[in-house]
């Protein structure tokens, strides 16, 4: 049967996402989203992905929340007294369709945590786990794959971050530093 801790965290995460969806005030939605990121970071740790958990806590709960707060500091919050958004039938239909279609595929997926999943059985996984230490002398396989085996991928990521930085400066009209 399902363990208590992952179940509680999953419920917390989905509840925070729902709160984000229904709260009308953007500041309240941002706070709910920060709590959501924190819950997701804890789920990463439970799923034995501490590197992803650290990044999510620093970047998802930290940087993203600050970016959202800076945005509403420079703009407006929605006027009016209503606490909750009114329900949108069109969006609800699409959301129910997405959940329904995805839920219908659940039976075709292997159980979470099974050692027979395609990911766990993959030759790529075995290769990284067996050869990482001899070939790179890095103990953390995630770091080794990120910086060595898939280094070009990470360089592409750095290019995306650079492009985003330049794009942001152009959009905000700050490209000239006097």
């Amino acid at each position: 049967m399902i363990d208590a801790v992952p179940a509680v965290l999953l419920v917390l995460v989905v509840a925070c996402a729902l709160a984000t969806a229904v709260l009308r005030d953007v500041l309240a939605a941002i706070i709910a989203f920060a709590a959501y990121s924190l819950g997701i970071a804890m789920i990463w740790v439970l799923l034995q992905a501490p590197d992803v958990g650290l990044t999510e806590a620093a970047v998802g709960a930290g940087v993203t929340t600050i970016l959202f707060l800076l945005t509403i500091a420079k703009t407006v919050r929605p006027p009016g007294e209503a606490i909750f958004e009114s329900l949108d039938p069109k969006g609800l239909v699409v959301a129910v369709l997405i959940v329904g279609v995805l839920a219908s595929t659940l039976g075709a997926l292997p159980p979470v945590g099974s050692a027979e999943t395609p990911v766990a059985q993959s030759q790529v996984t075995d290769y990284y786990l067996e050869n990482t230490y001899e070939q790179t002398h890095v103990k953390n396989a995630v770091t080794a794959v990120l910086a060595a085996y898939r280094g070009f991928d990470t360089m592409g990521e750095a290019v995306v971050v650079f492009a985003a930085g330049v794009g942001l400066l152009v959009v905000l009209g700050r490209e000239v530093f006097a």
Binding site: T20, K74, G91, I98, L106, V119, T132, V142, L146, L172
Partner: protein, 128 residues
Amino acid sequence: MIDALAAGPVDLLATRSYYAGTALLLGIGAYVMIASPNLVKKVIGMNIFQTGIFLFFIASAYVEGAKSPIVGPKATGPFVSPLPHVLILTAIVVGVSLTAVALGLIVRVYNEYGTLEADVLQEVRSDD
């Protein structure tokens, strides 16, 4: 798959709760993107949609009883697969870049038109 269907929906949900969570998060994210008139909330919806997909990847890498992939001469397995973790680390950083540019555009839209509500924005733009 036949076994899973024979076991019934409760067992299906219990063994695949993370995948069910993925489906719910994708639905909620899509709903916020479509239903909310506020542009900032649309970006929050996009972020929820993204993390739903991250949940799918990290859950697919997980093996019951396995350790995080810290290898080395003395470490003994089993370990979880490091590859999905790497892909998601990249995706998180790219997602933040995307959010930053989207929010920059939103600030610019607000400076030009004085509103962040999509419906009001459409009216203002059709008047031009």
